[in-house]
Assembly symmetry: C2
Homo-oligomer: 195 residues x 2
């Protein structure tokens, strides 16, 4: 089974090393890990590098049986938008999505902590942040469109119980996702074998 390893890991200076570590952990759990591209290759000269990376990642997503997404907040209160795009793509293609964040806590608490809390509750019953915009209050770790795509297969996001020292590289939650994906995919195979 092939897993697409979505996440902002590609932006790390040691992205190649991190990709290898993730692929080795995948292999340990019986999976092949497909690590997305950022700028590792020279494209066909008729297309831009940006388009070549996009096409390459979409082809890998198509090839994958499931996705493990690193949804750790990236340059803001939420996950990396490239990763969110890929979660949406995979969901639309019926692929199970598993995900983790190396930052504990809910979206509402994080927005209030990062952006600041609005003094008053909105007239619409929604909590607001200091930026004057509402904050989703569903006990989810991020925007509900991303959160519910994971919950759709019964696997909630994996979060650390305590603060993680290196949120960009810690592999404990990633490895927990691999265990969850393994159990889920074995279960689905048994169900489809019975049918």
């Amino acid at each position: 089974m092939k897993l697409y390893l979505a996440g902002p890991d590609v932006f790390l200076p040691d992205a190649t090393k991190i990709g290898k570590i993730k692929q080795e952990l995948c292999a340990k759990h019986g999976f092949a890990g497909l690590f997305p591209l950022d700028n590792e290759f020279m494209p066909d000269t008729r297309v831009t590098l940006s388009k070549a990376i996009f096409d390459g990642n979409v082809a890998m997503l198509e090839d994958a049986d499931a996705v493990i997404a690193n949804l750790t907040p990236f340059r803001g209160v939420s996950a990396d938008v490239g990763t969110a795009f890929e979660v949406g793509y995979a969901f639309a293609r019926g692929k199970p999505i598993f995900g983790y964040s190396n930052v504990k806590g809910d979206y509402l608490a994080r927005v209030h902590q990062t952006i600041g809390k609005s003094v008053a509750m909105g007239e619409d019953g929604r909590p607001y942040a200091a930026d004057g915009q509402a904050v989703e209050n569903f006990g989810r770790f991020d925007n509900l469109m991303v959160a519910e795509a994971l919950l759709a297969n019964g696997s909630d996001v994996v979060k650390p119980e305590a603060d993680v020292a290196d949120v960009l590289r810690d592999m404990a939650a990633f490895e927990r996702c691999l265990q969850i994906a393994d159990a889920f995919l074995k279960r689905s195979r048994r169900v489809s074998a019975v049918r």
Copy 2:
């Protein structure tokens, strides 16, 4: 033709009014505008409100012929992740995506301005931000997965030429997207009629 109106507009205190303005502009250009949900309805008691909103938005995306996404940066340097999810979903379902941002300028400049610029160029040839992570340098307005999904149908993101007073509510770029979508969809209908 139906357009799904993706964007963080749902988080505005006047979201209902903004949704109506967008739907009226859609109607003016011959479209039906499908405005996403945030918390406007009471779901079936067997599911959570979060799940009901997710399912409702996915059903509207399926129903839509194309998407217009508000990709104005939201609580960080990038677009709203819920919107990025929806762009990914729509792209996977083969629906043309049009988009706008009410903030001018490229992703690289915005990251350097917001996060801070790293002094040195990376050894990998990529520019870095002060957070120690690489920044895509493809002249796009945001992460390439989102940017290329728009370019795939030949329609680049619409951005303002000058600073916009109310980036959360200005409709000029949205209306430009409607014109682009109208021209694109008329052209595709002509092409499919010829075939």
